[in-house]
């Protein structure tokens, strides 16, 4: 803290004091987010250069004459010094230009926007499952510390931590789709239901509700329930574990004893007072969980043939469609950075100690 800022904080009224910290923090954060974004573009740019595919050859083919080769090489700017090339790349990225996908022959950004809603839908349902189940389980584990409930919940979340998600997905498909027939199989919809509902949000469950088509809605839910439960289990494991440790920290505090002594019911003390104080930290956890769900989606989508970002990136990878892979990396990276920023912003707004430290 600079001397001037300290002076300002001392003399100004309560409101300014309350918000000077967060505002300064936000400014700092924006700076670091911009730096991180630059770092991300550096990495993708670097990956684009070290890849052992000659981008010129990819365009002209290996039968082209040396003149054509050189002309294209100059056209796409490979004769320029690396900083110039990076600058060009950065300006393009900032304009949303990730190049053209080699497979679909469309701008990568269009492709990404087309497939991303499927991933969002999957991750959102998974996140809801993880949060709705994970938080209560974490609280119960904390209040029953050391007893069998705690052991069971801890072990269940440990299993979730250790589970290869693609394997769990395959077992799920085998059991609930192939053997029991409880849910629909891979994909987002049965083939007969494709393209019935006009795309509004890209989330099939929402779109079918807007259109009022209950058949499509239930079909999409039936396709969604297995992959999102499996991803949800992984986020449940993390959320429950973090909730437990936050709650243990709260339950040790003296105010718990005070509220109990005051005569409040233990239920209210735990679920209202203690959990209320934990929410702030949980928001951070939930934001980060969402980020990790995007990662898990790459594997889950491969298993469930779910036409989202993960499957798109995977297919691009094997077709040496570098623009698409890097575009996807960039998109996930940006979402990740955004989520990190969000949780960083929320944290000091509610926790005064974090405000002091920064």
């Amino acid at each position: 803290m600079t001397a001037a800022a300290a002076e300002a904080a001392r003399t100004s009224d309560g409101w300014a004091r309350r918000f000077a910290g967060p505002v300064r923090h936000a400014a700092k954060l924006l700076f670091s987010v911009a730096l991180t974004f630059l770092g991300l573009t550096c990495v993708t740019f670097f990956i684009g250069r070290v890849i052992p595919i000659d981008p010129v050859l990819a365009i002209v083919g290996d039968k082209a004459s040396i003149e054509t080769y050189n002309r294209v090489r100059i056209e796409i700017g490979l004769d320029q010094p690396i900083p110039v090339q990076y600058w060009r790349y950065l300006t393009k990225v900032l304009h949303g230009d990730f190049g053209v996908s080699v497979i679909t022959a469309r701008p990568v950004l269009d492709d990404l926007l087309r497939v991303f809603p499927a991933t969002i839908e999957l991750s959102m349902f998974a996140l809801i499952i993880g949060v709705v189940l994970g938080i209560p389980l974490g609280v119960v584990a904390a209040t029953h510390r050391g007893r069998w409930q705690d052991q069971v919940i801890r072990f269940a979340s440990l299993l979730g931590y250790s589970m290869p998600v693609f394997w769990l997905g395959l077992i799920g498909l085998l059991t609930f789709y192939a053997k029991l027939g409880w849910v629909e199989g891979p994909g987002r919809l049965d083939i007969g239901f494709d393209d019935i509902v006009p795309t509004v949000t890209g989330l099939l469950t929402v779109d079918s509700l807007i259109e009022g088509d209950s058949d499509v809605f239930w079909n999409s839910i039936s396709h969604l329930v297995l992959p999102s439960s499996i991803l949800g289990y992984l986020s449940l494991a993390y959320v429950a574990r973090m909730t437990r440790s936050f709650m243990l920290g709260q339950l040790k505090q003296e105010y718990i004893l005070a509220t109990l002594a005051k005569g409040l019911s233990p239920f209210r003390v735990v679920w209202v007072h203690a959990l209320g104080n934990v929410w702030v930290q949980l928001v951070t956890v939930i934001a980060l969980t969402f980020g990790s769900l995007l990662e898990g989606a790459v594997l889950t989508e491969t298993v469930f043939a779910w036409p989202g970002l993960g499957l798109y990136m995977k297919n691009s990878l094997f077709n040496a469609d570098l623009n698409a892979v890097l575009g996807g990396t960039m998109l996930v990276g940006v979402v990740y950075i955004g989520l990190n920023m969000l949780s960083d912003l929320l944290y000091p707004l509610v926790d005064p100690r974090a405000r002091e430290q920064r």
């Binding site: 670091s32 990956i47 998600v165 085998l174 995977k314 990878l317 990276g333």
Partner: protein, 302 residues
Amino acid sequence: MTDTVAWRGWLLDPAPASRRQARLGRWYRAWMAFRRNGLAMTGLAIVLALVLMAIVAPLIADPASANLQVLEDRLQPWSSAHWVGTDELGRDILVRVLFGARITLTIVALVSLIVVPIGLSIGLPAGYFGGWIDAVLMRITDIFLSFPRLVLALAFAAALGPGIENAVIAIALTTWPPYARLARAETLTRRRSEFIEAAELQGASHLRIILTQIVPLCLPSVIIRLTLDMAGIILTAAGLGFLGLGAQPPAAEWGAMVSSGRQVLLDQWWVATVPGLAIFVTSLGFNLLGDGLRDVADSRSA
């Protein structure tokens, strides 16, 4: 019997006579705390079994048999000849899982060997010198920390080409940042200690202080973190293998084995599930072990 008692008494002596006795005694107390933790012991047993499997694999089965294709025996269910059946090329799944343990352990070991030195060499100077060195190094760390791990590993693996070495590099590149942070935090807490000042007054160079005074104090928490991370490393490696970016066929990599078993999942489910089970049990073992180690370390500091 009296021997054992004397030996324990020597280890648990509250007034150790030598540095070695004190250190061994501390380890012994930690071990006794660890031994009481049933889950942690299970984890240790799993990890030891895995290491044993990797070591004895060539002794109990011919290395060539892992890739031996017997097409008339393809997709057999379990029998006395093939305990968990055969895959789509008639290879014995159990033998392949056994040899897969070698690949998995190699990946874990290589990643650890890369990650710890990188993390320490970034984190230690940052915490020790502070100022702009700290700012620059931690900014770089934050940038790498804010990337989604699997996706970045995917992009790296795509750029470097599929293969086990590149998978290791890709995983290592995305794993080191927490170690840098950890090493920095540990250094910061010791930086102003009197024993560091004493060493400085004796004229020890910065490098010497870092290597002889700070590194040994950082190592326990780094090792615990590493054990906890190993499950994640295994899962990421298996994920890359499953996507076809890890070890290439015919290598017996668990993730790739699950992937190749997908085609016959509905009829010959064991082809995909058995190697997946190996991944799961292994990562569970490392998680249990890491949790146990952390609990021991926590109770000691509390």
